[in-house]
């Protein structure tokens, strides 16, 4: 195999499993997927299936400032001022639109202090920014607080996906595996753009080399396990689709998405969802011109992220307001 490139810009890592901080929590190596739930032969499937309405859910987060609190116990407590925003894009009737009334912006002060820490409210003209205080007792490093902020965002995303998926005629796509959705609706599909675990054996993975955009692999079943709280207990159906390759210089695994839905629905229903994603996603794939994580970071998601990041507010203004607020307190 000659050298081929991977498509993402390097500061975003790769879409592959080698990344240390990849959020796709893998199953143990002992998980054995069932490759025969849909088809007895492992061959590409091309079946066009259109869907009238699609929701894409995503969120962004930002660490505003790290802190240390001397009042928090024997050793200084760790603290993190962070903001996140979640929202959804609806694709319907040939239009893409951000669901403005679904957008939520939250701010948190996460800390390891064992005493009560009040919320911190930054007031500026007519604006009030409230950083709600939450303790994260399990955290021992600053990065743990960042991870907790991330989890809070993912939980919020999951809740929005749950609400949106009450409309079963719509396909709801959520960024990342179906981790913490308590009861994912029947039409919720997680799409994994940063693939941590391939699940299928190497021989079957070869199929991805010949897969064309619009085609997909057959479904395979990833069994659930009661011991693993991160993943759905009932197991997941999963499949791969291929996005249009940016060029011959790119490795064939570089344009692949893994998708999954809950195994609580029938395999027939799952196959329809799979067909819908195989039809839809190549159209939504982003161009390397406009997105550093092309093609996997879908165009509507990229726009939603830009919008949400904008709603987080001006980073420098918030940093200065925080500094001023704490300095005033110190002076008082």
């Amino acid at each position: 195999m000659p050298v081929r490139l991977l498509p993402w810009q390097p500061e975003y890592g790769t879409a592959m499993q080698f990344d240390a901080d990849a959020p796709d929590f893998g199953d143990g190596d002992d998980v054995v997927p069932d490759l025969t739930v849909e088809a007895s032969t492992w061959a590409p499937i091309t079946r066009r299936a259109d869907v009238e309405r699609v929701y894409l859910v995503d969120g962004v987060r930002r660490a505003e400032a790290h802190a240390l609190d001397d009042d928090g116990g024997a050793t200084p407590a760790l603290g993190l001022f962070g903001s996140y925003a979640i929202g959804a894009v609806a694709l319907a009737a040939g239009r893409a639109g951000i669901l403005r009334d679904r957008v939520r912006v939250e701010r948190r002060y996460l800390h390891t202090s064992n005493t009560e820490v009040p919320d911190r409210v930054l007031a500026f003209q007519r604006t009030q920014l409230a950083f709600t205080s939450r303790t994260v007792p399990t955290a021992s490093r600053a990065n743990d607080l960042v991870a907790a902020l991330n989890r809070a965002m993912l939980d919020e995303e999951a809740r929005l996906a749950e609400t949106l998926s009450e409309d079963e005629s719509a396909l709801t796509l959520i960024d990342g595996p179906l981790r913490s959705l308590r009861s994912p609706g029947r039409s919720v599909v997680g799409y994994v753009k940063r693939i941590q675990q391939w699940y299928v054996p190497k021989a079957e993975l070869e199929l991805l080399q010949t897969l064309l955009p619009g085609e997909r692999t057959p479904l395979f079943l990833i069994p659930g396990s009661a011991q693993d709280p991160l993943h759905l207990a009932e197991g997941r159906y999963s499949w791969f689709v291929r996005l249009p390759a940016p060029g011959p210089h790119v490795h064939y695994l570089g344009g692949v998405l893994r998708l999954e839905c809950s195994a609580s629905i029938s395999p027939e229903r799952a196959a329809i969802l799979a067909d819908q994603t195989a039809t839809l996603l190549p159209r939504l794939a982003s161009s390397p011109v406009r997105d550093p994580r092309a093609p996997q970071n879908l165009t509507p998601i990229g726009a939603l992220e830009t919008h949400l990041t904008h709603l987080l507010g001006d980073r420098r203004l918030i940093a200065r307001l925080l500094a001023a607020s704490i300095a005033r307190e110190e002076a008082a």
Binding site: R95, A96, I98, A303, T306
Partner: protein, 593 residues
């Protein structure tokens, strides 16, 4: 639409913007237009700012630019992704507002996020200074047109009648008679509105009809006026009718009878002429040399010498009934031909050689070169041939009944069948007479404005060169204001007209302009967007700039309620003996000179 407590009569339309690229300033600002409403160019808007001390500042302005953008796009091709339904975007419209007025005069920028209201009623009056154009006793507003929503736009008479300014200048490409029609619309509005007050009846206008026949039916109602157009006249609070008081003059035609040289219209048109005696006494000879290219030197001197000689001769001419002839150096001249011969004899003398020995030459302090005399005579002869039909000796008619009198409110002098030089002669003679009369007039007459409408100013007062008629026009432009003589001048291109004339006009108006012309310095009073629009203006639309309002306004004026061509003249009861049109035979017998 949301109503604001402070502005119960206004509609909320937009929010003041404060992005780095569209920062609000005290003199202009941008506003995001609320998607459920819209703003269009020329809309008048109003913002109320509350200062920290609780004081209100009202900022008024006019929308002069609108920009629609798509938010959420970063690349040109994103528009396609958005249309395909893949990329979520949002369209937004930003309006740019030029501030016309700040009340009270505390120049603070409107704050971003403040509501922008469509100014209606009192707010609009203030924004456009209409409130300053009237007080308890007087109303100095005269209509200059209608805005896009059909509401009247006014001009301030004080800037027209000489009180604080005077004169109108209209530019625009020709072809559709828009300039002339607009000039007559202005006159109609002045004479039919209350703006002139007690001076209304004594105010007069002189209009030269230099091309076409569009001014020959001012006294006839327009049969093609639709109900819709009548409503527009009603919106201006003007009666939709013809001019009430008009007299028409045309130069006499060649021949023995003092009949007017006209085309479609004969009825009600007086043929005018000057007697040879008047011609000499008043020095009209110089207007035969009205070309701007008149040699600055010698011919000019010669013209002055001869003009003075003729005036002297006229003063010395013994009375003879009927009046009109003139005795020059002992010889009676009965027509212009005689006079030209007499002038030649007195310059050149009887001797048949190249040197001019004439009596007048001998007494001239500086004898003219033979070439100059010949050139002078050549031009004199050519000019005299053109004006001969309306410069007559005694016995042609009764001079008093063929003299142009400004008895009616509007006097139309039809020159469209005359040669260029003859047109110049008549315009020059009449303008100098108007100025002379106003200089000597006292009292009431002086306060009543006398409007002079001159189209093709570029011909009479070109940018380069000198001529007696240009000097008269300059005199009007510079001193007319104090004498009550108001010039309503028009031309295709202001860049070709004497700059002092254009610069002295308080009201600058443009119709449709040629693209290259619109870019010239003469139109600096237009905002960039107004300049761009001037290239696209349709007939019936004008951009009006007046001293009080810092932004030029686009106005429309209604279809004339008087006839501008024969086909528009409403027929009187068919076959009636009083049908004035019965005599509108076309005497197209080729009297063009």
């Amino acid at each position: 639409m949301t109503l604001d407590d402070n502005n119960p009569s206004s509609e909320y339309r937009a929010l003041v913007l404060g992005t780095e690229g569209a920062a609000a300033t005290p003199l202009s600002f941008s506003a995001w237009v609320a998607p459920e409403s819209y703003l269009q160019l020329d809309d008048v808007v109003h913002v109320r700012t509350v200062l920290p001390d609780g004081q209100y500042v009202d900022t008024y302005g006019v929308v002069d630019e609108l920009r629609a953008t798509q938010e959420g796009v970063s690349l040109t091709s994103d528009v396609a992704l958005s249309t395909e339904g893949v990329l979520p975007t949002q369209s937004s419209v930003a309006a740019h507002v030029s501030v016309t007025r700040v009340e009270p005069e505390i120049y603070v920028p409107p704050m971003p996020g403040q509501r922008v209201y469509l100014a209606t009623g009192e707010a609009r009056e203030k924004a456009l200074f209409f409130d300053r154009m009237q007080d308890e006793e007087d109303d100095f507003r005269f209509p200059v047109g209608l805005d896009r929503s059909g509401r009247p736009v006014y001009g301030n008479l004080e800037f027209l009648d000489g009180t604080r300014g005077a004169h109108v200048n209209i530019s625009g490409v020709s072809g559709v008679a828009t300039k002339t029609t607009y000039a007559t619309f202005l006159l109609y509005g002045l004479f039919e509105s209350q703006a002139l007050g007690s001076r209304r009846a004594t105010s007069k206008a002189l209009i030269f009809n230099v091309k076409g026949e569009d001014l020959l039916f001012l006294d006839r109602p327009n049969a093609r006026l639709t109900e819709e157009q009548r409503a527009r006249w009603a919106a201006l609070d003007l009666p939709a009718g013809p001019f009430g008081s008009v007299s028409f003059y045309a130069p006499c035609r060649p021949g023995d009878q003092p009949l007017p040289q006209t085309s479609s219209r004969q009825e009600g048109v007086t043929g005018f002429y000057w007697t040879l005696h008047e011609f000499c006494l008043n020095g009209y000879l110089r207007y035969l040399f009205a070309d701007a290219d008149r040699d600055a030197g010698q011919i000019g001197d010669l013209v002055e010498v001869v003009t003075a000689r003729l005036a002297q001769a006229a003063r010395n001419t013994p009375f003879r009934d009927p009046e009109g002839d003139v005795e020059v150096e002992g010889a009676w001249c009965r027509d212009l031909e005689d006079l030209v011969q007499q002038i030649e004899r007195n310059l050149v003398g009887d001797e048949d050689d190249d040197e001019p020995h004439g009596r007048w030459m001998a007494s001239t302090y500086r004898a003219a070169a033979p070439g100059t005399v010949r050139a002078f005579l050549r031009r004199l002869e050519a000019g005299a041939r053109l004006v001969q039909p309306f410069v007559r000796g005694a016995g042609f008619g009764k001079p008093a009944s063929h003299r142009i009198e400004f008895d009616e409110q509007v006097t139309v002098v039809d020159l469209h069948r005359l040669h260029d030089r003859a047109q110049r002669f008549v315009v020059g003679v009449l303008l100098s007479r108007v100025m002379a009369e106003h200089e000597s007039a006292a009292g009431v007459d002086r306060t009543s404005p006398f409007f002079v409408v001159v189209d093709e100013l570029n011909k009479y007062a070109p940018r380069e060169g000198r001529s007696p008629i240009k000097e008269t026009l300059l005199d009007i432009a510079e001193r007319g204001r104090s004498l009550g003589v108001i010039l309503i001048g028009a031309q295709q291109t202001a860049s070709e007209v004497e700059q002092r004339i254009v610069a002295n006009a308080s009201f600058r108006i443009v119709g449709r302009l040629d693209t290259a012309e619109a870019g010239r310095d003469q139109y600096r009073f237009l905002t960039p967007s107004a300049r761009a629009r001037a290239v696209l203006l349709k007939p019936g639309s004008m951009i009006v700039s007046q001293p009080e309002i810092p932004v030029p306004l686009l106005v429309e004026f209604p279809f004339p309620s008087w006839s501008t061509r024969r086909s528009e003249v409403a027929p009187v009861a068919a076959g009636s003996a009083k049908d004035p049109m019965l005599r509108f035979d076309d005497p197209d017998e080729g009297y063009d000179l």
